[in-house]
Every structure is written in structure tokens, then in C-alpha cells.
Amino acid sequence: MKAVIIDDEALARRELRRLLAEFSWLEVLGEAANIDEAAVTIEALSPDLIFLDIQMPGGSGFDLLARLDRVPNVIFTTAYDQHAVRAFEVNALDYLLKPIEPERLAAALQRVNNAVALPMPQRQVLEQMFVRDGARYWFIPLREVRLLSAENNYVRLWWRKMQPLVARPLSAIEQRLEPKCFFRANRSEIINLEFIENVHLGINGGLQVQLRGGPEVEISRRQARLFREQTSI
């Protein structure tokens, strides 16, 4: 497994590297001292795992995650910000308090290892987005999103009871979606096929799709033909 260490303190990075030397199956590919460096490093090396400090100059660890298109597994390392990590509503990954205890580190790595070792279909769950909505943060597995709707330059994710906004164009997210699962219903909405409750004819030759947990989405006439072919209705 490939990992990257992100911390603004050189000595903290050195210490973590030393602790990680125990785990032969883990390879530390690189380091970054701030979030700009980190974004470039992660883009270039696509690690499976990042160790991420929260307080850093120029932007926090959360700022970095919100910027990433593909979010790897994250283990937060922090001296005292555990309350910040706990701000995660769900899907919180692990956090380690500095100075890091070797036993805690081993347990955290074991958890990541288990997650990565899952069979393929479940692994797709790991295709996740980091979303910040006000003071709350989520790692959102895209498979669990039932509807993505464009709102100006934002995309609203309909996920469980939440509808957080993401500052990205819909087309950028569409590229990362599993085409077998997601379908472009109209100019501004993409639906998750696994969440369809029922379909009935709409006006103008389109289709009305009722999603489990709401809402109702209209499939445009042009897309309706494609929809029928793809789902063989």
C-alpha cells in the first residue's frame, strides 16, 4: 500500500516515517508540508492512504480534502484537534493523536487494510467525496448518492437525509461515476439507477422517475429513449 505524509513540521514527518518503518507492507511515497504541495503530490502519486495534519499554514487538512477530486483513505494526525475530526457526521476515518502511540497506529492501519482488501463491488464504495457543509464534514460514498442536481456552479448531492452542495460542475463529477449505476436524466440531473422506486409516463413523451427517499425526477424525451434501451423497460 502506498502512503503520503502531510504535515507542516519536518520533525513530525520524520517521526511518523520512523514509526511507519515497522510496517513493511506500507510504502511512504512522499511527503508534503502544506496543502498546495499536498494536492500536487497526491495528484502525481495517487496514494492509497494519506496521513493528514489538520492545522497547517495556508489552509487546513479539511481544505485539502475539499479540493481533491479523488479522496484516498485518510488518517488524520493531530496534536489536539480531535474535536475537529469528530465533527464528521458519518464515515469518519481514523485519527491519531500526536505524539502517536505505536499501538494506535497499528490498529488504524489494520482498519485501512481491511477496507482496501474488500472485494471489488464493495470497493467502489471507497470512491468517495469529501464534502463540507457549514461546520459539518462528510466522506460521501458516491454509490450511496441517489441524485445529483446542478445548481448554478454547484452540485447538490441527495444523500441519505442530507443534501450538501459541492463546488464543482456536474460534468466533472459525472466522469467519476460508474456508468452502469448512474444515468443523466436531463440537462441538470443525474440519477442513481439503484434508487429508482417506480417509473411512469410523463408529459411531452418524457418519463417521471420516483426515487426512493425522494424526489421525483423527470427524464427528458431525448434521454427517455436511451433510458429504455439501457434499462430494457
Binding site: E15, G58, I100
Partner: protein, 365 residues
Amino acid sequence: MAFSLTVSNYQFFHRDTRPAYWLVQGAAWSAYGTVNAVAAALVVHLPWQRAAVEMAFFSSLGLVLSHTLRLFMRHRAWQGLPLSARIPRILVASFLVGALAALLTRFLGFAAWRSEELAIGWSGLQPLVSFLVQLLNWMLLFLVWSAFYFSALAIRHRQLAELHEAELARALQASELRLLKSQLNPHFLFNALNTVRALIADEPARAQRAVTQLARLLRYTLGAGQDDLVTLKQELAIVEDYLGIEALRLGERLGIERDIAPQALDMRIPVMLLQTLVENAIKHGIAELPPGGVLRIYAGLVQGTLVLEVENPRPEHVVPAAQEGIGISNARTRLLLLVGPRATLDLDLSNPRRALARVRLSPTV
């Protein structure tokens, strides 16, 4: 803290004492008049009606004159005078007011009864003696009145001072607690421990030095409540320990420029004042900048006034109000409580890329 102090003092200083004053005045003079009238009726066998009229007159005259005396004394701020200056003034004032009272009594025809009815026959001198007895009587009365008045004032002042002191102590204690909280910044502490652990294996000598510095810093911070004022020299030593640890963490990102005038070293400043400013400069300035920056510490004497400056670069996107956090406002409160109005603490954020904290401590007058 500073705010609540002001508010409660305001209420205390401006508590309305007028009802109490008039109640005591009214009661005292009524009692005096009643005693006089009863004495006149029983001892001198004056008719009751006349005694009643006399009672009303004496009470009213005493009330009006003593109140006038009070207005005059307040106007001249006698309560602020030392006793040696106040007592002669009270004697003279009592004499004058007593004379006025005696004259009024005489001309309104009330004073005659004592000598006439007692029929002390000092013939020619008799009116003058009678007048002088009246004057002395009134003067004594106003002396006693003044004694009561100033005693009451003194008691009230003392209560006020005690309350003020208690409030100050409370404020100090509270700010001391908050100071400890901000100084034993857990983030700093745990990061420092992590740094030390990273050094132990490869650079034990640096690790040892860091532990010593951290220990000194902790001891100074924990004991900061014992001495309110320390010399600049003592404070600078602890700032150096703090900077030593921060330098390990920040590495090349932290540059330090010191410009300390030797004659300023013995000046006394509130404990942890400079330390708070330096910590603030690193936390909100240099640590927030990816390339870091240079921290500038200046201390000098300008015409006897100690000037301390801590200057740092800061991220441009931070809104100006952000740096004026708990640390600065805390330091300012402590400065006010410990040194009073001869000290000022300003945070100059006019330059969007730099922050400059400046303390001025003028010498005791």
C-alpha cells in the same frame, strides 16, 4: 472582563444615596428639635404651643443650614482633603454657620427665652452673652454634624474601596486562569512533545535541550500567578525558551530579529505580557504562512517610557479582527489591572501583510 468591571462599578458609584441622606437628616433634626422643645416645656415651663413652634424652627433652621454646609463642602471637595487641612476648615465653617444661625435666631426672636426665662441677671452684658451662648451652641451642633457626615462618607468610601478591591482580585484571578489556559496551549504542548520524541533517537542533545526549555517554560507559566511583575530580562529569557521550541517545530520558516536596548532590561512588566504577544505573532502570523517569516522583537526606552514591539508578517486573507483574539484582549486586561492607565497595548493591523503589537509603559509619576 474589563467590561463587566466597568459596568458593576458604574452601578456602585452611582448608587443613589439621596434617600438615605434625607432620611437621616430629617430624623436627626426632628429628634434634636423635639428634645429641645420638650426640655423647654418641662424645664423652663414654656407653653407647649411655643415649644412646638420653637421645635419646628430649630429643626428647619438646622436642616437648611447643615444642607447648605454640605453643598458647600462637596463643592469644595473637602472629603478629599487630609484631616489636618479639613479640621481647621470645619471649625471655621461651623463657627460661621453657627454665627449665622445665632443671628437668625436672635432676630426672629426665639433666642431670648433661655436667659430671660432663666432670668440670669447679667444686666448689660446679658444680650451679648446670650448671643455667644447661642453661637457656641449652634457651632457645636454643626461640628458634631460634620463629624457624623464625614464619618459616614469615610465608611461608604471604605466599603466602596473594599468592593473595588474584591472585584479587582476576582478579575485578576479570572484572567490568570484564562492566561494559564491560553499559555498551556495544549496544541503547542503536544506538538512540542511530538517534536522532542522525534529528536530523541537521532539528535539526543537537541532533545535534551528542548526538554529543558519546555520545563522552564512550564514552570514559568505555572508560577506566573506568584509575581505579577517581572523584569524585562526575566521575561525575555522565557521568550527565548519558547522560541527555541518553536524554532525546532518551524525550522527555517522562523526567522527572529531582536533589538533590545540594555537599559530597558531592568524595567518591570506584567508577567507573560511579551510572551503572549510573541506567541500570538507566531500562531496567527508566521505559523500560518507556508514560507514562514521574520519575527521582530524590539524593546527600548523613549524618555523613560518603555516601548515593546512585536512585529510579524501575516496571511493577507485573514480579516483584521482575527488576530485581536483572546490573547491580546487578555494581555490588555492584565496590563490595565496591574499597571493602570499609564500602560497601553495597541495592535496595529493597518498593513495588510504585517501585524505590529506595541506596548507603552510610562514611568510611575
